[in-house]
Symmetry: D2
Subunit: 343 residues, 4 copies
Amino acid sequence: MIIVLKQGANEVEIQEIKERLVQEGFKVHFSQGVERTIIGAVGDQSRLKELDLEALPWVEKVVPILAPYKLVSREFQPADTVIKIGEHEIGGAQIHVMAGPCSVESRSQILETAHAVREAGATFLRGGAFKPRTSPYAFQGLEEEGLKLLAEAREETGLAIITEVVDVRDVKLVASYADILQIGARNMQNFNLLKEVAKIDKPVLLKRGPSATLEEWMMAAEYILNGGNNQVMFCERGIRTFENYTRNTLDLSMVPALHALSHLPVIVDPSHGTGRWQLVAPMAKAAIAAGADGLIVEVHPQPDKALSDGKQSLTLPNFQEMMTELDRIARAIERPILKEGER
Amino acid sequence: MIIVLKQGANEVEIQEIKERLVQEGFKVHFSQGVERTIIGAVGDQSRLKELDLEALPWVEKVVPILAPYKLVSREFQPADTVIKIGEHEIGGAQIHVMAGPCSVESRSQILETAHAVREAGATFLRGGAFKPRTSPYAFQGLEEEGLKLLAEAREETGLAIITEVVDVRDVKLVASYADILQIGARNMQNFNLLKEVAKIDKPVLLKRGPSATLEEWMMAAEYILNGGNNQVMFCERGIRTFENYTRNTLDLSMVPALHALSHLPVIVDPSHGTGRWQLVAPMAKAAIAAGADGLIVEVHPQPDKALSDGKQSLTLPNFQEMMTELDRIARAIERPILKEGER
Amino acid sequence: MIIVLKQGANEVEIQEIKERLVQEGFKVHFSQGVERTIIGAVGDQSRLKELDLEALPWVEKVVPILAPYKLVSREFQPADTVIKIGEHEIGGAQIHVMAGPCSVESRSQILETAHAVREAGATFLRGGAFKPRTSPYAFQGLEEEGLKLLAEAREETGLAIITEVVDVRDVKLVASYADILQIGARNMQNFNLLKEVAKIDKPVLLKRGPSATLEEWMMAAEYILNGGNNQVMFCERGIRTFENYTRNTLDLSMVPALHALSHLPVIVDPSHGTGRWQLVAPMAKAAIAAGADGLIVEVHPQPDKALSDGKQSLTLPNFQEMMTELDRIARAIERPILKEGER
Amino acid sequence: MIIVLKQGANEVEIQEIKERLVQEGFKVHFSQGVERTIIGAVGDQSRLKELDLEALPWVEKVVPILAPYKLVSREFQPADTVIKIGEHEIGGAQIHVMAGPCSVESRSQILETAHAVREAGATFLRGGAFKPRTSPYAFQGLEEEGLKLLAEAREETGLAIITEVVDVRDVKLVASYADILQIGARNMQNFNLLKEVAKIDKPVLLKRGPSATLEEWMMAAEYILNGGNNQVMFCERGIRTFENYTRNTLDLSMVPALHALSHLPVIVDPSHGTGRWQLVAPMAKAAIAAGADGLIVEVHPQPDKALSDGKQSLTLPNFQEMMTELDRIARAIERPILKEGER
């Protein structure tokens, strides 16, 4: 850590800060520039955070040298994490497409969707049973009934299931049905929820908060790894910006950035990332080209009758068409999506 | 609701949408402009949301006419809500200052702070017992032990207590100690937590999420009122922007905006709103001038030894000085903070 | 245009606004809902802007129905604009890559770069002669000397030239050397500069302002088309957000959005869009997959000795490698970049 | 400057960077931590920018120690700059209010406004003659005719004049009429315009760009001081954020921040800062309480007939009422606005 002192900091003040650092176990060395005194401190950086030296009146700024995350970093683990779910591997050569409705609404809706996306080449079925909604007056999900319908769809189609958990009290329940637990964007910093999913032996898809920096996002994943669960994948789903033609601004640069800084897989959600179904296929293709390990896409048999997010949902034929286009891009980078028979 | 159709929408398509609206109980009328067909729909707007008409390919956009919130709106309740806590009234003539450390760290720390802020004119003691922290390696709070220390400080000083609840499982516990329950910024859209505090007979301070719009914030309050608890106050604490000299951008325009749109009181947090103690007093004064009903401010006996947020905490003498300055502004608008003997 | 009145607007007030609209030539019709009166006004929307009806105390909001741009819209011109520059066509089947250093620094630097990017498959040479720099103490460009070096590089390599114009007084000078005039991000709303390039018979590349909405960007292009120059291409180069791992947030969703709303070509700048050379190739590939008509990329023979933007510049070998990868993606969507001999 | 190397940088690489720094005249010293090698470089920081060391593959990050601005900094000039304009002093004890319409529209409009704002206590008349407008179809200003009307209003009322210059070619013309030249938000980084106003012996009001950081804003002012004109005042007018209830987010924390970092006066524009006239008075009061040296406010005799910005303009009576309220706040901090006779 580098501590830059304000112009005019005197000997007494410099000595005082030195003593505190030494007392806390740091090795300290000074650099007296023409205009500033700079202190370098070598030691356990996680304890330096606690010191909160910027509260001192003669400290101008404190510059951390090391990143605050460890377990999620590629420095800690150079090799890619590959998450195994049944026969599937996320983070390996194959790109996975997770598809389905925003909310599970009925047996026929989820089964019809499941069969269609399976046929088009998806390997996971998505669908919300517990829905966090901006308005208290909007549809809040079928809850356990929805989970049961997802399980039935898995039984029928062989698709693995990804679904969101929003409440610490529901983690075990949801985990008993799902193959992947989804932490939604609004819960990225719901630290108690992160601690609960860390105790479960199921992979977790961690969505980026709408105003989360890359570092905060990685720290949220660090909570899960630190709690004992290493099967975490990131999911970029757009950030909130001033642009409101799109629902969010899908930040695809996070795909190569995360691959450089972390060993965990990266999934992209072009549905929430744009909020407009017309933009989903182009951005899905872009995500693949940028190196994403998978996609999660909203698909609905009748988007205009969806109880949520219809505006951003693909119809079944549109999804099928997109998959064909995606496969072409994916094959160009030697990560085919569709099998021989599906093309 | 106004539905604008795309150029070239034909009779069949227009008829289809009309039928759906009529079927759902809306009165419909058309306006055929030169370039666009517009449909006006009068009826229960909350059901229109569910229709998600923008999913229809020939709908260009849907423009809601009414705001989505009801109970929090000034249209619904023209008179200001005044929240009574013991002898105090929040939202009335008097401005309240809530002060204390970010985290309760020890008995001596909280008691020393409580006595000092009481003397300087504060009416509420703040202090966190459950701390949501970006890093899993940072101090996470004293939990119930912290709540007990807060209660002891109340006993000693007569200050009322405000403290944060972060977990649905802790709501009753925290409510058994606190006079006001605080919902933190990261939990503004933790809807299950909102539903739980809605069931409790204690006032709630609802912080604005760092990327929450005014409307989303009001909808979060609507959850609490709709769940049966009318004692809600908003707390502006800054939003996330590109500017990073400050920790957040304190959006004081929300004070008069909320007072125009809602009947609920508005508190301002200049500590998180700026992240730098040097900016706290100027922004506290600005908040009062803008019409805030109260302030919540971080104060610590030794900010450089604080376990969290030292950089933005005032020392006890700085807090006292600020209170004197605040009172001058407050008297100018006839909402004095200090009593005769305290000036 | 739809005018929503506040609750409680009375007959006199409604009549007054009606008269003003009729007087201004609008056809007016009313819709009396349960909670709001709504006025629809059909007529010349560009004059409605001037009316500024939201200044009236009993108007709650004014909702425009039509977009404010005309000439740039796909409604106005359904067919794609294809811009011809010598043998090249921008906006047609072929994807163009414009490459070169941020600044023209010396004869050897620009010639070495030109030959190398030409060989790798670029069709345009970029390079700044007039540099807008955040600091008055930074290198400000070689000015006309730089333009001459660009012209020499064109002579030697056959590459067409794109370079930025920053001052209304230099438009003719720059146009006498360049094949495409670039309007930089900071000048997107320098309306007098837009009016000047509108008078010139040279194509214009219009970069998006770092905080410009899609609509504002299209309105800036409208200035150029309205001034008489139809040869405009958009260039997405990232917007400013809270995320600061990247220099800007590259908003690739603008590629399909612009292709839907406008007939003009769309170029992407992954160098400014990310600010890190390691992210340039992945985002370039993503841009192609999203449907971009071209790329503009910073390349420098020795990025660590560049006088500007070295951090985001590719070396010559890195550029060549990227071009091979790009071509693979481009062929998958049947828009090859490289010719037979170049692969 | 501190240069942090990547993990694993070897001796040869470290030696190479050392040689370059020494060659450029820096004193270099090393710090070998457990996980990182850090290089401190003491010397002329303005040249370090040019080195662009982050382009080197084994450099992780470069941390500047000194701010990039000099002349505008309080370190360079500890005493406040006070700008004298006739009998007025900006940056001294008195707070100045600049008021008037967005655009000069007609002789009667500007004269009526001038008399009214003069009477209410304003000391400067604002009004645009050259209007940068988002749409090419909107009113673009009366140009020199507008400047003449402003001069006439000064003649009649004694108010000093502030008006915007948008084109390098108009600087001398505008300066021949105006008492303060305004650089608009969109031109904050129009560096050639900054260089031109730097040559003029008239004070300059420099508005913050809608997406400009504090540092970039100070660097823009540095251009003007570096060019020879020391009479610069900052004007906070709101930044662009995701919140769109307000036109911009007025960032009042910049007032104390600028007063800490710079010696130049700070003005606040609550009209553009909010975009809603109902919010102007509360935010004007807040600005005064935060320590602003002046305000610039839009006032129009008939806002609903204004050719621009009517929605955010105060009527003449509203302005008068605001001035009385402002004076109360200003007196509480001993910076009265109104003279004895005006109260």
